[in-house]
């Protein structure tokens, strides 16, 4: 029977599996498959699994719970092995690399930071700091909005300034937090955000990380919003292992 795979851990991981429910409508129990000093956490794979909210929550809850108890290599959502033997074969095949990666990730968690400008505040700030844009804006207003080509040309200038500001502010966020972390990596661009970045943070540095994030949030209040997530399993710091082989 097919197995849904959540993560790999080292054999010494305490595996707090009680109370965790697997993906799928049946919410089957999670269990361990052990081989080569490693453990794969799996559940029976439901037929026709789809990325429903319930399943995403089950996947995320299981991984966060396990990550809080020890190092994990998290799978991407929806990873299914044909049977137990295939899982054992993968643990055997990748034992060296998985053990090495788990050793390196131990004592670290992923934190994710997203930033979104408040558009009116951003535009007002750009105009306030740029006399040329401000003058063009006033000229268009005086003409009751101006012609379409004039508005497009002005808007394009504004868009360029917005893009530069997005890049600058993203660099600010990363630069402020980078000294406290082991690694940082841009996460996929998401709508409305000028920055979406994940950090690999030593567990003991999380308070400092939160303190700096709070200061950034205060500094940007009324201008941009920062959303901080985690501690998360280190999703962003494992996914290129296969490509490396």
């Amino acid at each position: 029977m097919a197995r849904y795979v959540y993560c790999f851990t080292q054999a010494e991981h305490p595996l707090p599996l009680d109370g965790l429910r697997g993906v799928g409508a049946d919410e089957t129990a999670l269990r361990a498959i052990r081989h080569a000093g490693l453990t794969a956490v799996v559940s029976d794979a439901p037929e026709g699994l789809r990325p429903k909210r319930r399943d995403l929550v089950a996947h995320e809850t299981a991984l966060e719970t396990l990550c809080a108890a020890g190092a994990v290599v998290p799978m991407r959502f929806g990873t299914v092995a044909p049977d137990d033997d295939a899982v054992v074969a993968e643990l055997a095949r990748g034992a060296g690399r998985y053990t090495e990666l788990l050793t390196r990730l131990a004592g670290h968690v992923e934190r994710n930071v997203k930033g979104a400008h408040q558009e009116d505040a951003l535009l007002a700030d750009l105009l306030a700091g740029n006399p040329e844009l401000r003058a063009r804006n006033e000229a268009l207003r005086a003409e009751g909005g101006g012609s379409q080509p004039d508005r497009v040309a002005f808007g394009e200038q504004v868009a360029l300034a917005v893009e530069q500001r997005r890049t600058r502010d993203a660099a600010y966020v990363v630069a402020a937090l980078r000294p406290l972390v082991m690694l940082d990596r841009h996460a996929p661009s998401v709508e409305g955000c000028f920055v979406n970045v994940s950090f690999l943070v030593p567990t003991g540095a999380q308070d400092d990380f939160d303190a700096v994030a709070a200061r950034l949030r205060t500094a940007m209040e009324g201008y941009a919003e920062l959303r901080v997530s985690g501690p998360l399993p280190p999703y962003s710091f494992v996914d290129a292992v296969e490509e490396k082989v």
Binding site: V5, L49, R50, P51, R53, L56, V57, E64, P74, M75, R76, T79, V80, A86, A89, R104, N112, L123, A124, D125, L127, A128, N137, G145, R151, V152, F154, G155, V158, A159, V162, R166, Y172, A176, P179, L180, V181, M182, L183, R185, H186, A187, S189, N196, V197, P202, D208, L216, A219, R227, V228, S229, G230, L232, P233, Y235, V238, D239, E242, K244
Partner: protein
């Protein structure tokens, strides 16, 4: 579920499970280990959340929207630009002074560098 690090009053995800899931969904779907010999369920039907921000910004519709939004702004009152660069510069300095990174042992640095090599073979990591 993920616990939001900011107090609920700070806005955004609000600390609810819904908000928290929303803010990590692209990590759940687009990051994490992929193993070639295992299959992945089809993501057909799930809303595409990630975007190419540059494409969104560089369009006539966006230009017109920005022009209109600027025209609507109330800029009376001699508004000053927010002093973000100075404030963030101070935060960055303070952050660096904590020297967590500098205090890492040689072994710790080597680990960081090796993980960096593993996850960023194409050099696309944030610079």
């Amino acid at each position: 579920m993920t616990i939001m690090a900011q107090p609920p009053t700070a806005g955004g995800g609000g600390g609810s499970a819904a908000g928290a899931l929303y803010d990590v969904i692209e990590l759940i779907l687009d990051r994490g280990l992929v193993i070639d010999v295992f299959v992945r369920v089809s993501l057909v039907g799930i809303e595409v959340l990630t975007i190419d921000a540059r494409v969104v910004v560089a369009s006539i519709d966006t230009y017109l929207r920005f022009a209109e939004a600027c025209g609507r702004l109330d800029l009376t009152g001699g508004r000053q630009p927010v002093g973000l660069p100075a404030i963030v510069g101070q935060i960055t300095e303070d952050s660096a002074e904590r020297k967590v990174r500098g205090a890492l042992t040689g072994a710790g640095r080597a680990i960081a560098d090796t993980i960096h090599d593993i996850v960023s073979p194409d050099g696309r990591d944030s610079a």
